[in-house]
């Protein structure tokens, strides 16, 4: 085994241990948040008009009569095997509720991510080639402004534009993927665009400065003086060297998109995880809330892990730190 491979494995192993530790803390925090609620959880869930028998029944149902460590272990074991118990307001397993709403939120997030990459990359390359020129200045100012518009305000503006002025979009109409993939994408395109726009601005800003920084470095100057073509310098040297920043920024953007979609789908009246969460909050459905939080955090933790590994492949120096 070469030294390089061993270092790779060691780095991946360390990161994996970190992943497990983070998952442990994340699960603990989620569990703790719902255990330190002041007062009796069952009483809060049922409201002030519940009879003592009802409260006692719910306590047993939720396992609240058991000691804390036992409850934590049961909960964690359930979380990792996909068994989070029943939602207290829908009376069906939490996991099936989440699975039912996932296509909306996930589809929207993936669509938004594709938009972010497809728009911000070419734009940042274009802008960074001639920083300070008129094209770059316009892009940069536009980026600042878009960055500052909250996603739900953008959604409202897009709704007015698309359904009020252009008549190309009907609000709150969601087509599930089973009934034709094209319609599914079409029904999610506008909300995805609303989430993507500020993130395009953010990615553009970071990528632009990463490329400009590379362009100004000594090795690029040397390559120019040696007569390498601009295209070759850019494709073979500048672009690979800005990969690390792009991996980092895409990861950040993706976890932002997941959080942002919770609000945006509410503006567009889409039946996704955001609405489920609000229903859970409204009905004080703690099993459902904790399940959703844990799974969304789980996705983010895995995302960060993958991005760390990818970054170490793109720039092996990271492994040595």
């Amino acid at each position: 085994m070469s030294l390089n491979t061993r270092q790779n494995l060691k780095y991946a192993g360390l990161k994996f241990i970190e992943l497990i530790a983070t998952l442990f803390v994340v699960s603990f925090l989620t569990f703790a948040a719902f255990s330190i609620i002041p007062g009796d959880t069952a009483q809060i869930m049922l409201g002030p008009n519940a009879s003592p028998e009802q409260v006692a029944r719910l306590r047993t149902e939720l396992g609240l009569d058991q000691p804390l460590p036992v409850r934590y272990i049961t909960w964690v074991a359930g979380a990792f095997t996909g068994n989070l118990g029943d939602s207290s307001s829908f009376k069906v397993p939490v996991i099936s509720l989440i699975a039912q709403r996932l296509p909306v939120t996930l589809g929207m997030s993936i669509l938004a991510l594709i938009m972010v990459i497809a728009v911000s990359y070419p734009l940042s390359v274009f802008s960074a080639r001639r920083p300070g020129r008129i094209g770059d200045t316009i892009c940069s100012i536009l980026g600042h402004v878009l960055f500052a518009i909250p996603p739900f305000v953008l959604s409202l503006l897009l709704i007015v534009l698309a359904s009020g002025v252009l008549h190309i979009f009907t609000m709150g109409k969601y087509a599930p993927p089973e009934k034709g993939f094209g319609n599914y994408i079409a029904s999610l395109a506008l909300p995805a665009f609303a989430i993507a726009l500020p993130k395009i601005a953010m990615t553009f800003k970071f990528m632009r400065s990463a490329i400009i920084e590379q362009n100004a470095s000594e090795y690029v100057k040397t390559e120019r003086s040696h007569g390498l073509s601009e295209a070759r310098i850019f494709l073979r040297h500048v672009l690979p060297n800005s990969n690390v920043s792009s991996i980092t920024i895409i990861t950040l953007v993706l976890s932002d998109i997941l959080g942002g979609s919770l609000i945006v789908e509410q503006v567009f009246n889409l039946p996704g995880l955001g609405r489920l969460l609000l229903t859970a909050i409204d009905r004080r459905d703690f099993p459902l809330m904790s399940g959703m939080i844990f799974y969304l955090a789980l996705i983010t933790v895995i995302l960060y892990f993958v991005s760390d590994i990818l970054a170490s492949i793109a720039d092996p120096r990271i492994r040595l730190k």
Binding site: E18, A21, T22, V25, V26, L29, A33, F34, I37, P38, H144, V145, F147, A148, I149, P150, P151, F152, V153, L156, L157, I159, V160, G164, S255, D256, L258, G259, G260, L262, I263, Q266, V267, L277, L278, I281, R284, M289, M292, I293, L296, A297, T300, V301, Y304
Partner: protein
């Protein structure tokens, strides 16, 4: 010495930011001393009036004066962002500096907690905290403060790690200055170039979060006005009464944009100084 180009850039950012922020700050001051109407007073006879001399920004579906409500909303927005960032900054400095300065085991533990908090989509964490402890402005502030603390902790940790090998810190150590004093009176002031823009950006991001939460009905509670809630309530009237959308959106954007430009100005003026 600062280069001419970067000082010009910094000044442009500062001026643009100041203009945008000035509008919102003016609204804040006006809400305290000369609000034209009671922001929460409803009037059945004056429902959905377009902007006019009597009602500068028109009235909403309850007949409330939109201008007065915007003044009031800017007061809450500014208060929540400043209070939340203050909590986040306090927690971040308190945990980030020792993590970076001591390194080793304390660092690992502190950063594990920080990274774990960062793994929850921020808005989700704040929403749930508010849902569990009840919607109130106080709960919104501390929940957002907690969500934002890791960002500042990271900045402090990175700064402390870099500075602790510098000669002036080494010298302080040799002189047996206590670690607490080294961290807070030697390292912290030198972190301003990173911490100051991060704080201003934090104010902007916190406003984004707060307005989103208020939009969902879990931020500022009615009848108190907030930009997010105003925009949520006007959804049915976006086409018939556009003034209900335009003015709160603009104020919200002005505040966030002003903060972005201000932080950009601070960043450019600091980096211009260290370049030469």
């Amino acid at each position: 010495m600062q280069s001419k180009a970067s000082s010009f850039r910094a000044r442009t950012f500062f001026i643009t930011g100041a203009v945008f922020l000035g509008i919102v700050l003016l609204a804040f001051v006006m809400s305290l001393i000369c609000s034209p109407y009671d922001p929460n007073a409803t009037s059945a006879r004056e429902i959905l009036l377009p902007p006019s001399g009597a009602h500068l920004f028109g009235t909403d579906n309850f007949g409330r004066d939109v201008f007065s409500r915007i003044l009031d909303a800017s007061k809450y927005t500014i208060f929540i962002s400043i209070a939340g960032v203050a909590i986040a900054l306090f927690l971040g400095v308190l945990s980030g500096l020792p993590a970076g300065y001591f390194g080793g085991f304390p660092d690992r533990v502190i950063m594990l907690f920080n990274n774990s908090i960062m793994c929850f989509p921020g808005i989700l964490l704040a929403l749930v905290a508010v849902a569990v402890f009840g919607p109130s402005m106080f709960n919104v502030v501390w929940a957002l403060g907690l969500v934002f603390a890791p960002t500042f902790a990271r900045v402090c940790r990175a700064g402390a790690m870099e500075l602790k090998t510098r000669d002036f810190i080494m010298h302080a150590k040799v002189m047996r200055v206590k670690p607490v004093r080294i961290m807070y009176s030697h390292i912290l002031p030198n972190l301003m170039p990173q911490l100051l823009p991060a704080t201003v950006i934090g104010l902007a991001n916190m406003t984004l979060f707060e307005s989103g939460m208020s939009y969902l009905g879990l931020g500022v509670q009615p009848p108190d006005a907030s930009f997010g809630k105003m925009l949520a309530d006007c959804k049915a009237y976006v086409l018939t009464a556009p003034w209900l959308v335009i003015f709160p959106s603009l104020m919200l954007i002005f505040y966030i944009l002003g903060l972005y430009f201000l932080s950009e100005g601070i960043r450019v003026s600091y980096s211009g100084r260290s370049d030469s």
